[in-house]
């Protein structure tokens, strides 16, 4: 008999989540606006003393090896880029969720944050190969948040997860997402989407979270972004930076070719660059 997790209990868990700070939310909204400028981000950071302190701490961490201490937000942002500020804001607002062990996925503490950070960097690298204009930092932000649903879903999923891999291996379901739907009645993308709505995140980011395993189902206006994160997620899993038992148990949607020009060599460069930046970002955000 198919077991179903308690959707109402998940709804209540989402309702109990603390909201993102107004500044962090505003930052995500600004990043999602294709017409925004760096000054818009600087203005938000300057009005948030905690964020300012964290940004300055990161830019002055030994990882970046700067000779002179950076004391202004303008310089820090021009050096770090918007993406590191987003990482800091997300870590500050959702760090507990992102760092907790994913028992349902047999993922150790910190696995979700590492996967999301790697996916963010890889999504941005993928976006460099876009056939048209692309907002690279929005791809990064989408990658950073795409699997947020696992943080809540995992607690419920652990009750029924043990049959997921055997279902996939026996061909009863197509992939891990289908196993979640079959065994639990809903999946981590849907839970993440509800969390993003609860947090009132920009629509583009909500769509990334909901459709990142099936990007063709996303509305046309956001499809390139969703495909970038779809591929960033896959690159992250290929690099061994997954969230546990579901690693690589998903399908590649080759519809990405419409939006990205990727050769085997391009993919190798993406893996190489993502790995290098991930090591640096992880260390600087940990210090």
């Amino acid at each position: 008999m198919t077991k179903v997790v308690d959707a109402e209990a998940i709804r209540q868990a989402i309702e109990r989540l603390p909201l993102f700070s107004p500044n962090a939310l505003q930052l995500l909204q600004v990043i999602a606006d294709p017409d925004h400028e760096l000054e818009d981000v600087i203005r938000i950071v300057k009005f948030d003393s905690v964020l300012t302190m964290r940004v300055l701490k990161v830019v002055n961490s030994p990882v970046y090896g700067l000779v002179n201490e950076v004391t202004s937000i303008d310089r820090a942002l021009s050096y770090l880029g918007e993406r590191m500020v987003v990482s800091i804001a997300v870590q500050d607002n959702a760090g507990q969720l992102l760092n907790k062990p994913l028992e349902g996925y047999l993922g150790e503490q910190g696995a979700l944050w590492r996967h999301d950070l790697f996916s963010a960097i890889a999504s941005r690298e993928v976006a460099r190969y876009a056939r048209g204009d692309f907002d690279l930092d929005l791809a990064f932000t989408g990658g950073l948040l795409h699997d947020i649903g696992k943080s809540i879903f995992s607690d419920f999923w652990k009750e029924v997860a043990q049959d997921a891999l055997s279902q996939i291996d026996e061909g009863m379901v197509a992939d891990y997402l289908m196993a979640e739907q079959d065994l639990a009645g809903l999946d981590h993308t849907e839970v993440g989407y509800r969390m993003a709505r609860h947090w009132q995140m920009p629509e583009a980011l909500q769509r990334v979270i909901l459709h990142h395993h099936h990007p063709a189902e996303a509305p046309d206006w956001v499809q390139p972004l969703v495909y970038a994160v779809h591929l960033g997620d896959i690159v992250s899993m290929m690099a061994g930076c997954d969230t546990g038992s579901d690693g690589l148990q998903y399908h590649l949607d080759t519809g990405y070719r419409e939006f990205f020009n990727l050769s085997p060599n391009a993919l190798a460069e993406i893996v190489l660059n993502a790995q290098e930046e991930f090591s640096r970002a992880r260390e600087s955000l940990t210090n």
């Binding site: 996925y105 047999l106 993922g107 997921a164 891999l165 992939d175 896959i234 899993m237 290929m238 690099a239 061994g240 930076c241 997954d242 546990g244 038992s245 690693g247 690589l248 148990q249 998903y250 399908h251 590649l252 080759t254 990727l262 050769s263 085997p264 060599n265 391009a266 993919l267 190798a268 460069e269 893996v271 190489l272 790995q275 290098e276």
Partner: protein
């Protein structure tokens, strides 16, 4: 226990009694594992990409990242422990090289890594005695000095010997 933990692009060898060499979460990366049955030395390299020509700077900085440079370096490391520097007589096992479901040629880095390692092994007159490669799951692998055993595990799939 004396333990050498390898990250991506790292290589290492040991013949310390009770020791092991281990690497985590290979994904599409491949671990080439060597053992010298004459002196009990074991070694491993964690290769991420098949060919170093893609990025010369990175190749200089982290040669073990690439199959074409990592394998010779591991054989040199084994030689430092007393094994032949031409690799003769070494026992080889390959682990990793997984892929996403429905991958296309572009995304099949795992298979290209395995093929590249085999090609460079052939240049030494070597070939894998055993391999656990491909599939859609990431592997963590250890090789033990005392027994020479190669043990693989994967979240949700348990542990097995190659």
């Amino acid at each position: 226990m004396s333990e050498i933990i390898l990250g991506i692009g790292d290589y290492g060898a040991s013949k310390t009694p009770g020791g092991r060499v281990k690497t985590f979460a290979l994904g599409s990366c491949v671990a080439a594992i060597l053992r010298d049955p004459r002196n009990g030395a074991v070694g491993m390299v964690h290769v991420a990409l098949p060919d170093s020509s893609i990025n010369e700077a990175k190749a200089r900085q982290r040669p073990g990242y690439f199959a074409d440079l990592g394998l010779p370096l591991l054989i040199q490391e084994m030689a430092r422990l007393g094994s032949p520097d031409n690799g003769r007589g070494l026992v080889v096992k390959l682990v990793g090289g997984a892929s996403i479901m429905d991958h296309n040629e572009t995304f099949n880095i795992g298979k290209r890594n395995v093929l590249a390692l085999k090609k460079h092994l052939w240049a030494y007159g070597l070939g894998p005695l055993a391999e656990d490669v491909g599939g859609n799951y990431s592997r963590t692998v250890s090789v033990f000095v005392d027994s020479g055993k190669v043990v693989v595990n994967c979240p949700g799939r348990g542990e097995w010997e190659v």
